[in-house]
Symmetry: C2
Subunit: 372 residues, 2 copies
Amino acid sequence: MTETESPTGSTLTIGVVKETKPGERRVALVPKLIERLTRRGLKVVVEPGAGAGAQLADDVFTEAGATTGDAWSADIVLTVVPPSIADIERLKPGTVLIGFLAPLTNTDEVAAMKKAGITAFAVESIPRISRAQGMDALSSQANVAGYRAVLLAAQRLPKFFPMLTTAAGTVPPAKALVLGVGVAGLQALATAKRLGAQATGYDVRPEVAEQVRSVGAQWLDLGIEAAGEGGYARELTEEERARQQQRLTEAIGGFDVVITTALVPGRKAPTLVTAEAVRGMKAGSVIVDMAGETGGNCELTDPGKDIVAHDVTICSPLNLPAEMPVHASELYARNLTELLELIVDTDGKLAIDFSDEVVAGACVAGRDEEVN
Amino acid sequence: MTETESPTGSTLTIGVVKETKPGERRVALVPKLIERLTRRGLKVVVEPGAGAGAQLADDVFTEAGATTGDAWSADIVLTVVPPSIADIERLKPGTVLIGFLAPLTNTDEVAAMKKAGITAFAVESIPRISRAQGMDALSSQANVAGYRAVLLAAQRLPKFFPMLTTAAGTVPPAKALVLGVGVAGLQALATAKRLGAQATGYDVRPEVAEQVRSVGAQWLDLGIEAAGEGGYARELTEEERARQQQRLTEAIGGFDVVITTALVPGRKAPTLVTAEAVRGMKAGSVIVDMAGETGGNCELTDPGKDIVAHDVTICSPLNLPAEMPVHASELYARNLTELLELIVDTDGKLAIDFSDEVVAGACVAGRDEEVN
């Protein structure tokens, strides 16, 4: 256990920076959570304009008890997206940095944090255990992404999602398939179902079938299982993958909408929708590939773009949570606040306890220095 | 009753034209309805590419029994949007034209039809009686538009529509207000509700309150009533309108989403959402103004555009049904097929009976010539 006051011995400051990545509209803290921090004697400094993308003007933050100013020089800096090396160089030694830090892929950035003497907590690395659920930013943002993926699919589909009964006849509900049933996939299934589609889920982990059914969706059984650790699927063998692809390819032709969410942390996303599968779909069908950032689950995906191939629209949005910044920020801010409450004691002093598996698991830089 | 064969005495031809208005992706007839027409001995001629926008390739039409060719020279020509004067001049004398013809506003075009010897049936003018419900294209397309308006609002809103319960806390459902509860408004309410919003409807006709409640939405009672003829509201008096606006302005500030659908046929749309009301809305709120084509229900609407005013996004889509062309076309084609079956007898001969109130009501050109 290490108890540290801020360098000047005064109140610890929490910095809320303005995100520097283009298109990022989220902000790491929202006004309604500031009181939970100031109550502990913490001071919140918000970079001017930090909340603009999430419809939060500076004065809404200051009315809630924050000040505006240089958030990058705070004792604890909160970010949404992984900071660039230039961003990291703006931090003073000893800073505690908390945010999405992409530790598995952004290895140069993590090295820069270590070199700069930063103690960094990556929300991606928080162990997915019951006690840490409230800090699970991957889940909160995946919830947003899954919901938005369905809105995008519904918007692109030239058909109704719900069944419609009119005086001139009936149109059947759209058929939506969600591949990969984690938090995003489950929210996508629930949203598609809610909007009136006939929703079907598929995952290589058979244990999620019950969750799929719990939101009123059907389970697509392809007869291939690959349960893995930490809630992610293990990688399939080559033979399994070939069988999976063949059966999926056959099944996909029956759906109007396919939403793919299959991610393997730190690796290229698996291909689930082949070019052949796309060719087998009806004209006007829609694929939303949520794995575009790591190459995509569809063979024809062009990351970040909407394309039309074989009369099928293939969308690859790269940052769906940023499209719904008010609630995405609010949920994320709650996650960070819970984590903050774990590393700051009730007197507002840093109390980083590396014997706590959540704290230890989340820390991607600065632990060695603490231990030495 | 007039029985007419086509000029050559042979089979009557039904022409399905390629729409000429930019952005119009619908088509007036779909392959699955062709058999209902050919069974009567009618011949269907589809202009090449007519179905492309609705994902219907020419060969899908020909496989269903149509031929491709010059649809504009057919005996009966089906269109979606009101034809231009140039389009009308492509029709031969004696042609029967069926489609949206905007007879109340496109008076020059209707004059051109009369001059050209066209018998024209406007789907907008079909009496809204039980027997003609299957032909009610205004309703079928309004259903599409109401659904799409909610998708648009959900897409623009930086918040969830549904309530979300997460480990880190709960976000409340969005509050959506629909102004004007005709077919579009009711479908908007049903869709908003389905997607998880708290939906509220308002209309100057108090008798629709029950319909609003039937889709699970709440009724907003402002204490002003204006039931009118034909399912539309009568125009309010100036004093009533002032009171309505004041009370609405106060109410609107409590909603995240406002969808307006108030139309008065052949007239400018009434202003329901004033600039003051927009100013009173929370930052990030969304207005979808479905009355943009006749000036809009919101004072700040810029028809055809998405604008942001006072941190509120105001969308004014002008042709929502065209954004969902597969089902919009299918429903529309069913409406036209029912109308066709009313004016063509089972032997495939024209049998236009002006003593039928539906036929008489729908006819906007060509009746005088028939009577003489």
